[in-house]
């Protein structure tokens, strides 16, 4: 027990050697951490070089923009990083918001060009609002009729938006009817409010519809937000008024700028309004106002640079990514190839995914976190569900493609390679990710909030809807955006469900066959011509990565803003 061993080795004996060993180990570990990062960074630089070809520009052109844009911005960035972090945050958001806004504008513009006319949009929005109104009104009038509520919840959208089953589902109704030997008489469908609106003999002009259904609601939302923040109704009305006037100005200036009044109105609603609201908040709080210098410098720098370049007649780089690439279809000749139809396909696929996975995923997460019993047979079932979700997250994406092929194409018989099938297959793939991240967000809401709500006499569902969900929403949104980023890049399921290799025309319905961005990139990767391999392909990769970057940056901003300590 108390035996002493004077001859035992003392750890410090060879201290100089072990210090060296420790240092070497630490350096090795750091190198391992950096290995993946550095190699991917290098590869990205190669791709970016192929896509933009900066070296094909005159050196004067590069020099001009380096002096007017890169150097000032880099200096500002160093300043924010070292000395003024709040201003850095402001700089990040004020430069990022317009980018996100322009992307949204582009998305809506594509939607109005390819998917629905402004009148159809108006009819859709009006009918959705009517359905919501019906549901709310029923809840007010008969708060205790649960079963009726269920009927209204699902019936109202059918009456206002869908009408009786559209053609794509007819097989279900008619086959079932035939099997049962009954004639439902559904061959003359009952039309919905939406379709009634579409057949109105007199409709307002397009700009009025757009102003009423898109700009005005966003303006009111912004106005309410500002009014609450400043505690002043006048400020709110000022925001609404300024937005509407700004949008109306577009009737003159839009066509003059060549973007049409529609483009102008979208820009006002998605770019000018959020940026204005954010900047107003920054200025009023006087926090990080210096951050505003960053976007101003960027815009001024580009303006000055372009004037100088024009005056000196310097040629810019012959980049593969340009307006033509983003707005034209793919082609046999590399110079004409573009990614536009694939982008439309990706956007429409994302719409399907959001509609299909967000409600189900959040619903499942709410059940697992708020309702699930931990004991009894139900408890066992819940444990099984949890394990199963974890495992589904690890199932290879190609298997989900096989599932989509077997289920939606061979059994349901939706057209091969259509957007619905792609969206549902990829949606099933990201469903476990959405559930898991929503669960984490809901779990992070402190229990005291729930207790307080119960203490006020709220029921469980009231607590969830009015306390837990609003608190967890930023977290849920962050997780969903990250999952959607994964969805945009998924390729294997698209190959399995037969998404089109190259489409010349953008799809304009959800049952159309379409290609998506990663599918298009994959087709380009099998072209042998160097112009494709080192030009068009690189441009496609950069476009895809840019979209992902914007989505992830948005998710991070939301996370940082609302993170709970």
């Amino acid at each position: 027990m108390a035996t002493t061993e004077p001859d035992a080795d003392w750890h410090g004996d060879d201290s100089s050697i072990s210090q060296l060993r420790g240092r070497a180990f630490e350096a090795t570990c750091l190198a391992a951490t950096a290995f993946g990062l550095v190699s991917v960074l290098l590869l990205l630089l190669f791709v970016a070089n192929d896509a933009f070809r900066p070296l094909s520009a005159d050196s004067g052109w590069l020099l001009t923009y380096a002096v007017t844009v890169v150097v000032p911005l880099a200096a500002l960035a160093v300043y924010y990083y070292r000395l003024d972090e709040p201003a850095g945050e402001v700089a990040y958001v004020t430069s990022g918001l317009p980018v996100v806004g322009v992307l949204l504008t582009g998305g809506f513009a594509v939607m109005f060009i390819e998917l629905l006319s402004i009148l159809e949009w108006f009819a859709l929005v009006t009918s959705l609002v009517a359905a919501g109104g019906l549901i709310v009104a029923h809840g007010r009038l008969r708060p205790n009729a649960a079963l009726e509520r269920l009927v209204v919840l699902f019936g109202a959208p059918i009456v206002t938006v869908l009408g009786t089953p559209p053609a794509q589902f007819n097989w279900l109704v008619t086959d079932l009817a035939a099997a049962l030997g009954v004639d439902f008489g559904l061959y003359h469908r009952v039309i919905s409010l939406r379709e009634v609106l579409l057949r109105l003999p007199y409709v307002p002009t397009n700009w009025l519809l757009l102003l009423g259904t898109l700009v005005a609601p966003l303006a009111v939302a912004g106005g309410v937000f500002v009014a609450r923040r400043c505690d002043s109704r006048r400020a709110g009305f000022a925001v609404v008024g300024a937005t509407l006037v700004g949008a109306l100005v577009g009737l003159v200036t839009g066509p003059a700028l060549g973007i049409g009044y529609g483009g102008w109105m979208l820009l006002v609603a998605f770019v000018a309004l959020p940026v204005g609201v954010y900047v107003e908040g920054v200025v009023r709080r006087r926090e990080g106002v210096r951050g505003l210098a960053f976007p101003v410098t960027a815009v001024l720098g580009v303006a000055v640079g372009s004037v100088v370049v024009d005056a000196a007649g310097l040629a810019g780089p012959d980049s593969w990514i340009d307006w033509g690439f983003l707005t034209s279809a793919t082609s046999r000749t590399a110079a004409d190839a573009g990614i536009y139809p694939a982008m439309v396909g990706s956007i429409m696929m994302i719409i399907v995914i959001v509609l299909a996975t967000f409600p189900v995923g959040v619903g499942a997460a709410i059940y697992l976190e708020e309702y699930a019993p931990s004991e009894g047979p139900m408890g066992k079932f819940v444990t099984l569900v949890e394990i199963n979700i974890g495992n589904l997250a690890g199932v290879p994406s190609v298997v989900y493609g096989l599932l989509g092929l077997a289920l939606f194409i061979r059994i349901v018989q939706w057209p091969q390679g259509s957007i619905v099938v792609a969206g549902l297959a990829v949606g099933l793939l990201i469903l476990p990710i959405v559930i898991i991240s929503a669960q984490e967000a809901i779990r992070s809401v402190p229990d005291s909030f729930r207790q307080a709500s119960y203490g006020m006499g709220a029921t469980r569902w009231q607590t969830i809807r009015q306390v837990v969900l609003p608190e967890a929403l930023p977290g849920i949104l962050t997780g969903t955006i990250l999952a959607l980023g994964r969805a945009i890049g998924e390729t294997a399921p698209l190959l399995m469900i037969g998404a089109a290799a190259s489409v010349r025309l953008a799809p304009n319905g959800f049952f159309d066959v379409a290609g998506m961005m990663p599918r298009q990139i994959y087709s380009w990767s099998s072209e042998l011509e160097p112009a494709f391999r080192h030009g068009v392909l690189a441009a496609g990769v950069i476009t895809l990565l840019a979209v992902l970057l914007v989505m992830n940056a948005t998710a991070i901003v939301i996370r940082n803003r609302y993170q709970r300590e």
Binding site: F25, V360, V399, L431, L545
Partner: protein, 310 residues
Amino acid sequence: MSTETPEPDITSRPRGRAARERMYQYLLLLCAALSILVTISIVALLARDAITFFTLVNPLDFFGGTEFLLSRDVYGLLPLLSGTLLVTVIAALIALPTGVAAAVYLSEYASDRMRSVLKPGLEVLAGIPTVVYGIFALVYVTPFLRTIGLPVNTFNILSPSIMVGIMIVPMVSSLSEDAMSAVPDSLRRAGYGMGATKFEVTTGVVLPAAASGIFSSFILALSRAIGETMIVVVAAGSQPRMLNLAEPLQNLWQGFQPMTAAMVQINSADSVSQLGFSSMFAIGLTLFAITFLLNLVSNRIAARYREEYE
């Protein structure tokens, strides 16, 4: 005055309120149960065609066959399995040591500022679409391997495997780091109290204590490598091939066709027999079974280490 106001009846339970509550609960339960339905439909739908396949092809010929030729209706799994095995082994050789070393650095050595840069950076690696990694392998890595003197073909198994390795590094590092962070500080202090250096504490105390968590991250990463599709589809070629055991190094320079790539090829082939089409489901079911089992095992191990320290 105040006596005139009727007492609000706060104890009343309006009829239907309970029913409404129950309705929402069942609706939400339905959402949660959907995940089970997904699993069941994967198994059922894959099995449906796989069974048709196995009635026509002897399972022994499938699992033991050394040749895979769509055009001659010969379906042996071993060449595809060779490709999958190679990708997994090479990727593991890259990702497992790198991932654990990165986890050690992040959990034991990195300053807060370094962590705040490196961790999101590693997460970005996992967020890059796999088709992009495939293009990296085909267009940039393979020519690079040639310039440094390796005799690789245009389509080879080496460069996609390297990319798969880099892709799964963050998976190993983040899960291993979680395991190392879960090791209680008291163990580290005990080590320092004995006069051990930081290196000795890290390798002698933290790593063994976190071993089961690290091991579970390995299995998960391997399962990801086995199921990885686009990288190998783009860059590994479409030639099913058996492993050349006589000259192991030769394998690296040649193209292989792993299971996932074979499924994609069958599906996109212009004319494929009914049997070939159902072989895709047999391969898919095998793949699903392997990855599902690995995930289960990994979760089990991870659950065990969580119990150890909580």
